[in-house]
Symmetry: C2
Subunit: 303 residues, 2 copies
């Protein structure tokens, strides 16, 4: 049977909000989608929509030619590929692994070498855009890897992403740009919280301040996106405090390896850690504003 | 002679890059512009363009019905109005003082009371937009004050600004929003520098990283605006390091007065102080990246 006549078989490891969105986008694009997850619920949900559940990454690997790994971090990526039930041992030679968790660049570089040693292609392909963009197949992918890996992954990338940046022909380049983005994203969320804490404490009008800043030199993507959660008192997690505890930790570890101090990142990380310690780890990351003592925050207007 | 038949007489105290831009915008709008500055050169330049030099704020005050104070800080604002040659003693009753320096909100509140005691109107009216927007008459004004002050200042505001936010009917409200903006602007410049230091140190491509971030959740107005200076190695000051040494100092002092800690602002302020101490006070504020040791910055591509 020729390639042109049957849909590409793609596996997705990890059906969190990002992975589920990607799996659904792949189904919509007409690909044959297999998936595994430690939880039965999302697997069953995907099965009802036409996906094929697998019991483990190893079982998944035997069925697909491309594998998207959308787990939380480097440890889970390691386990999905090289653990006792990992996919690296069962994927056919020449298959491509699209590794999309936020990981240290050095981990991505080593992963590329290990997969190559098994005859597998590797795309270092962290994503940006969150659950909403994942569901729409509109993610941004910050990718690097061998041109053959890009070619093999093309149908998958075009189904899951609105924009694919090609950042080099070696794994690691994609993850380097991703952690620079995470540094800024995390610092900007913490700065937005700090600024709104000062706004409220000083007696300025929070909504008017938000409107002015959105049109001024103090604006950021995160300020525009997260401050409405504070104004509405709604900390339903779109992206949780715990994500930036993790991601700024990766940023700091990466910089520390080359003795680079990052004072703002370190300060922002401490704020997210304090928020997590105070019981807000699972709340929206805008809840980092709750660590500023004595600031009377707007109450919930819904929920 | 009726109001409608002669142009409003406006004074400008301080002909730095902001004040000169405002004075020229007022001239273009057909107002009668008087000005003073401690330096003779900008006064002479303005005279050639149709402005009227004055020897002191006191001399200026006797000639105008509206006074724009565009000096560097609260001390200079104090001196321009209440110093030995200050304008408050000579301005006619009912004249409006448009105080546009970045000052502590508490200073703006007290200033309003003192001017009112002399029969003068006061607009707390810090500006945003920099020298370029000032020259075009396209500033953003974050204003608060008595409605009569707004009414009296209207011809001046429409000549100097593209957008006037009315933030309340008491002095102080404008300056409160302005310092929240300065907190974010300063932290975002320092964060942009820190992020690009990590980018360069980790071996990511600086230009590609810039392009990706400008289209990602890590973006900010300042990142987009200042990182090109780093990429071009061009630290010609559009806004200098010393400005954020000053402005983040005001932010921290204001918060400290109500025992509010601002960890990111404090970290950013330290970076600007270090940059100033290292001899970069007069360079563009993007030069704060020079305090990250061991980072090989792009060289100058011009100048």
């Amino acid at each position: 049977m020729s390639e042109a006549k049957r849909p590409l078989a793609v596996g997705v490891v990890g059906l969190g909000s990002m992975g589920m969105g990607v799996a659904r986008s792949l189904l919509r694009a007409g690909l044959a989608v297999h998936a595994c997850d430690v939880r039965p619920e999302p697997l069953e949900a995907l099965r009802r929509e036409g996906g094929q559940p697998a019991a483990s990454p190893a079982e998944l690997g035997a069925k697909v030619e491309a594998l998207v790994v959308l787990v939380v971090n480097a440890d889970q990526t390691e386990k999905a590929l090289f653990g006792p039930d990992g996919a690296a041992a069962t994927l056919p030679r020449g298959a491509v692994v699209i590794a999309s968790a936020t990981v240290p660049p050095e981990f991505a570089e080593r992963l590329g070498a290990r997969l190559a040693a098994q005859g597998l292609l590797h795309l270092d392909a962290p994503v940006s855009g969150g659950a909403a963009k994942a569901a729409q197949g509109q993610l941004t992918v910050l990718a690097s890897g061998d041109p053959r890996a890009f070619a093999r992954a093309e149908p998958v990338l075009s189904a899951m992403a609105a924009k694919v940046y090609r950042l080099g022909d070696r794994p690691g380049q994609g993850s380097k740009v991703k952690i620079v983005n995470q540094l800024l994203a995390g610092v900007h969320i913490a700065a937005a919280a700090e600024a709104m804490a000062l706004c409220i404490q000083s007696g300025a009008d929070p909504q008017a301040t938000y409107d002015v800043i959105c049109n001024s030199a103090g604006s950021s993507w995160m300020f525009q996106n997260r401050v409405p959660h504070i104004l509405q008192g709604d900390y339903t997690p779109l992206s949780a405090v715990s994500i930036f505890v993790k991601d700024l930790g990766i940023v700091l570890d990466t910089a520390r390896a080359s003795s680079l101090g990052l004072p703002l990142t370190a300060a922002a990380h401490q704020l997210f850690l304090q928020a997590a310690a105070a019981g807000h780890a699972g709340e929206d990351d805008a809840a980092v504003i709750k660590v500023f003592p004595g600031v009377k925050l707007p109450g919930a207007t819904r929920g």
